[in-house]
Assembly symmetry: C2
Homo-oligomer: 324 residues x 2
């Protein structure tokens, strides 16, 4: 059986993603061409508002592979200066909504993707420009609530200005986890109940615009994510183990991540990367369960290698919300 770890050096993330599907219980042939999944006017450049991490560049590369021009709008303080230099780009600061609209219209962008890690700013930290000030009532309302509420508000602002906001996974489905097992390790029957319980818990919390991740072990909920993020959640498990506050054998417990129910999936999809694996391994977990097609996988090849090395499973589960 071909294995992801056997991939030649220099393979693109896209190749790994397709390989990962070999383990999935589907009939997708390896070399199926990737279709542009949404009805996108490919003759207009794609505008990517990019925050932290490597995912924005994976999205850009995927669009470019499909023959589309890309213009990056890196957020000052969040996007990586050295990586963004390889793309056509304009720096913007948080709150420079007017500057962004002006530049994006001038570049001929109609479709906009927001992608990458961003710690929620204070409304007072924004460097407001005139275009933003014009939208203040909506912006202030958007800041009162959860992240999904905030991002929906930003999307509404963009749409008022004539843009169309689309999801990173719509532009580049290959950056999301497939349904099935990634890597060599499969989840055992012992963790099935924990995975189900985790997804049910996250679904129950969705109405509160919170909770994209939790750790379950032996039918017991050990940790639930809110504003701290998944890294801190995993570090907490490691710390509780070290302090004897949780007393689990090594290799017990599952990190479960899922998008919020009825969430606008154009932004803020849950994501995992090699760093998630390393932290989950330090927390002594057995593996990670995500929703296939609705979870961004950053650097999938490195992620699968790290999981195989740690003896951890990573599994994409069927999406209960997917259209039948």
């Amino acid at each position: 059986m071909p294995s992801i770890a056997d991939g030649a050096p220099g393979d693109t993330p896209q190749r790994v993603q397709v390989d990962a599907r070999i383990n999935a219980p589907t009939d997708t042939p390896i070399d199926t061409p990737i279709d542009t999944p949404i009805d996108t006017p490919i003759d207009t450049p794609l505008g990517i508002i990019c925050c932290g991490g490597t995912v924005p560049y994976a999205v850009a590369d995927a669009a470019i592979r499909r023959g589309r021009k890309v213009v990056m709008f890196p957020l000052r303080g969040w996007a990586d200066v050295s990586t963004v230099g390889a793309y056509s780009h304009h720096w913007i600061a948080l709150g420079q909504f007017g500057r962004f609209c002006r530049l994006a219209h001038r570049e001929g962008c109609r479709d906009i993707v927001l992608v990458g890690g961003l710690i929620r700013p204070s409304i007072l930290q924004l460097r407001l420009d005139w275009g933003t000030l014009m939208q203040m009532p909506l912006l202030i309302r958007s800041f009162r609530g959860g992240d999904d509420h905030l991002l929906s508000g930003v999307a509404r602002m963009l749409e008022r200005d004539g843009f169309r906001v689309i999801g990173a996974h719509e532009v580049a489905p290959e950056i999301t986890a497939p349904v099935g097992v990634l890597g060599r390790v499969s989840p055992g029957a012992a963790v099935e109940h924990d995975i189900e319980q985790g997804f049910a818990l996250l679904a129950a919390m969705s109405a509160f615009d919170v909770g994209q991740a939790a750790v379950i072990a032996g039918r017991r909920v050990l940790a639930i994510e809110a504003a701290e993020g998944t890294d801190a959640l995993l570090d907490r498990i490691a710390a509780m183990r070290a302090a004897g506050r949780i007393t689990l054998p090594a290799g017990a417990g599952v990190l479960v991540k899922a998008p919020k129910r009825r969430q606008d999936r154009r932004f803020d999809l849950p994501s995992i990367g090699p760093n998630t694996i390393d932290r989950a391994a330090r927390a002594g977990l057995a593996g990670i369960a995500v929703i296939g097609g609705a979870t961004i996988v950053a650097e999938p090849q490195r992620l699968v290698e790290a999981a195989d090395r740690a003896g951890m499973f990573v599994v994409g589960c069927l999406d209960a919300e997917a259209p039948k």
Copy 2:
């Protein structure tokens, strides 16, 4: 208006509790005698299995004030050696179920209260004796699940042996928070929605035997408690503030605590104490909301003094689950 902080030094916690009720929207006169709330054969000694913290001694004192004999069963490693010496007591180790039953029967105890802080042990850490081994199938099943599930299992073991397990708040209602404001600071209208949202979130998570506490600020859920406990939850808020991960003005955010819905309230009621106030103040919160009559208040006088000093509110809210 009489204030709790004005109480003479040496006032008992009971006195403070009654004072606190002055602020509550009820007609309870200050000097209402405290009735024994459940039909307890007061001629048999009350057995108290006591873990960490000061609450077990408040419960013991309340029973003694009502003229009842008390026998303490301090858990080795958890209960405070110096404090327990003032009471009739027998040390037991975790897992010495047989020893406990023998001693409690010999003392003539029929009613048993389990109270105090206990970090969930590993089943492998128990020092099993013969009486425990006889109950292993039930014990093993009890360990697979949340804390409430575990404690229900322990209660069933005790009941099989002829004991009656009662709640600390049934023996000593004065150790629970009243309905109404404790201390000088009242919650403003601005936090009402956050308090409601917090209680609704905790209720939604109850089915998963998790979540007795959460922190909400400006309609956003900042942190949810699972195995780490309330202290760690509050420290996390302080750390996120320090790291700039949450950007709130000082004095924003509410800690909300509630018992799980349909939980067996004979054990594991949420509790707060002066330490909770100190940590919530360091986390920069505006106050704490609990369920009146269903939250244990450790050292109420010190708690109210700490809250007044920090300018924080502590409010007992109406219990949605209380019998009408």
